[in-house]
Amino acid sequence: MSLMDILFGSKRKKSAEVARERLQIILAHERNGRAGAPDYLPALQRELMEVISRYVAVNLDDIKVNLERQDNFEVLEVNIVLPEHER
């Protein structure tokens, strides 16, 4: 940076800094997506369905299996909606 730049100050953010921030955001996003859903999820969902349907009448659509990634751990979320008339 020249003395003139310092004296008259260029307040705009340097473009390299913008580049770094943009890359950090997009790569964090793409790295999460890259691993994708593990391939056992559909099988897990099917087998859960088999077990549960022995006891309760549920549809395949009523079971949701999701895997979410947070910083250093993964959360396996299984959501089963039981039919209302059973209650």
Partner: protein, 270 residues
Amino acid sequence: MAKIIVVTSGKGGVGKTTTSASFASGLALRGHKTVVIDFDVGLRNLDLIMGCERRVVYDLINVVNNEATLNQALIKDKNCDNLYVLPASQTRDKDALTEEGVEKVLNDLATMNFDFIVCDSPAGIEKGALMALYFADEALIVTNPEVSSVRDSDRILGILSSKSRRAIEGREPVKEHLLITRYSPSRVEKGEMLSVDDVKEILRVSLLGVIPESQVVLQASNSGTPAIHLKGTDASEAYADVVSRFLGEDRPMRFLDVPKVGLLKRLFGG
């Protein structure tokens, strides 16, 4: 045991072939029997950069298809005794590269006592690029300090860790080395270009070297002489350092700072 090194980047035009040519030449200059293979079927250019384009008779696909032997297809380099070039086919379609075929070529090269097999990957993430990296033991990730190149390098790192043979077989992962090319310290100082530290931090790969933006690279390609042979130039020295570090020697990073300028220039900018 021959060590297989892929030179890859995802993005095109960042210096893969330039790097493959100088890196392979550098290994050979240090006494290692080396072969450099062009995997860019249909768009071969390694032969031009190595200056052997008029001596190409047979190519990688001919060898894969048993239309020629390896000995017929290998071109002995004009500058180094221990170096051979295996050109890509200019006419065949890239589906001709099969996993079995490439594996056989690599195995045959290993039995010919090559120390290093350098695979010059095409750009992209199609078959040719996947075949170039599939068998790799180590990878040079060539990256320009620029957003699209860094992003594509990150993508290639993901592919190396999921689709290489080492990854699929659950062996020790491919050893990754970052090589930053076309680096301009003066632009970094002005805040116009990502710094070496920025790129290292984003990609999280150990740095093997930095090649400065240099007029020498174009002169080298014009004459068909790998840049490392243009003794005394910045690019040549930088590539020689890369080779030394790759061989386990300790060399400080160079070409990271702007040469000092005088007071007047500093006052009025430059």
